[in-house]
Symmetry: C2
Subunit: 254 residues, 2 copies
DNA sequence: TTGCTCCTCACGTCACGTGAGGTGGC
DNA sequence: TTGCTCCTCACGTCACGTGAGGTGGC
């Protein structure tokens, strides 16, 4: 009777091992590369040969991975002697907490997405134009002046909440019909401002007199930055005017 | 009067641009590298100089990124002419749907985590031993035979639901007190099985006669694989027995 | 001989973060 | 002169997926 050689320990090839553990050969080789799973012995032709111990460890790795535990944590739990389920329990609770935080963040994100998708998604210029029209600052059929197209986009970019934020922020101004009425001719003068020191000074003080003292020190819309970025769209006189106006408004702060 | 040179277009440096858009210089350079944001002109010393257009586009990129839109999608939306908010709306809804799927998956994961954390987290051997004791298959103070330690770990690894799955699956057997009583002496004979063809055959048919015909064709616990992996823990007679038993059980299938 | 499995590089993923080593600007 | 900003590589992230090019096993 020929001696029946028992299937001596390591007799699974990597593909079989992967299938038994419901994973891929690549994952297994990766676990070898990071030292999470020991390299097994090789057979005559260089193939890896795995035994029961390998399968047991691999399945444990995969079970913890299916709970989204990072490989480093898995390594820590599997290397430490088996008697410490406390630690594992704590880790699992910690993971659950993290998952919970992710859920909350994703729920908020989902709300934002649906909210924005449900909004008009209008271009900043369109929103701006219709607001000006509604306030009577712009005539029903008048177009925005050429240079203001980009200015509106800039306003949109500079305010954390976009043009809508700007509108909300300035609704105190625009909501006051008398102010709007008084401001209107002054804005027209701004557009035509001559390169004349006296004219700049007069317009600045007239507008400053109308504007309320801002409640918050630093407005989210940075007038200085707008000035720099629109530099070549404004005449030198207009730029001097903006700086002057800013100076006047600053002086009023306590 | 010296000609007042207006801050001609590109006058922001990368750091200022990053701050205005609430992002990092590295992100901006990355957007250049993938062609999402055009490289601006350079000043005399090689520094990038940005203008209003760049800020506007960067802020739009960042707003869409804050909604977790992938850069590739952002590029598609920003490159196409502005008149198509339909597309953007559809993309946002699509993103919301994906986020929703993630939320559902994470909720399930969280349940699994908490469920497992709340369980005993006992070692497979411990679970197995106490089940055997509860069923009277193992005496109150008896230990598991040496070779079975690994066998239990293997059972655990081979079943999708671990030892608990094995126990549930076989509870039909173990829940039947008469069967357990009859099986008990046969299991003892298995442990002591002599290398004798007749003994193997007799034990196989006796046990096969007791076992019910399995309802499902392929059991999740692959007896063949267990045999291969435990090869050197079983005597040749025991391995022959397992193959024989398997043959007998297979023959009963329709 | 053919198709299957295995082997070892090595690049790709996604959106940047983080030095390293050097230079310009105020 | 000093500290700040900028520059360009280039590696690292996390857990693998995906060829590329070649060889062993049945």
């Amino acid at each position: 009777m020929a001696a029946e050689k028992p299937g001596h320990e390591p007799n699974l090839r990597i593909g079989e091992l992967a299938e038994l553990a419901a994973t891929t050969t690549r994952a297994i080789r990766y676990y070898h590369s990071i030292g999470l799973l020991d390299e097994p012995t090789r057979d005559a032709s260089g193939y890896r040969r795995y035994g029961a111990e390998d399968l047991i460890r691999l399945v444990r790795i995969r079970r913890l991975r299916s709970l989204e535990m990072p490989l480093e944590q898995i390594a820590a739990h599997l290397s430490q002697r088996e008697g410490e389920p406390r630690d594992l329990q704590a880790s699992l609770r910690e993971l659950a907490k993290e998952v919970d935080e992710q859920i909350i963040a994703l729920q908020a994100l989902k709300e934002r997405l649906l909210h924005i998708a449900a909004s008009t998604l209008a271009l900043p210029v369109d929103t701006w134009r219709s607001t000006l029209r509604a306030q009577g600052v712009l005539g029903e059929h008048a177009a925005l002046p050429d240079g203001e197209h980009e200015a509106v986009n800039l306003l949109d970019a500079l305010h954390p909440d976009g043009v809508e934020g700007v509108i909300t922020q300035s609704s105190g101004l625009l909501g006051n019909p008398e102010l709007v009425r008084d401001l209107k001719p002054l804005l027209l003068r701004f557009r035509e401002l001559p390169d004349d020191e006296a004219a700049v000074e007069v317009l600045a003080s007239e507008i400053a007199a109308l504007l309320p003292t801002p409640e918050q020190a630093a407005s989210p819309v940075d007038i200085e930055t707008m000035d720099r970025l629109l530099g070549d769209r404004l005449t030198p006189a207009q730029r001097r005017f903006l700086r002057r106006l800013r100076g006047l408004l600053e002086k009023r702060r306590p």
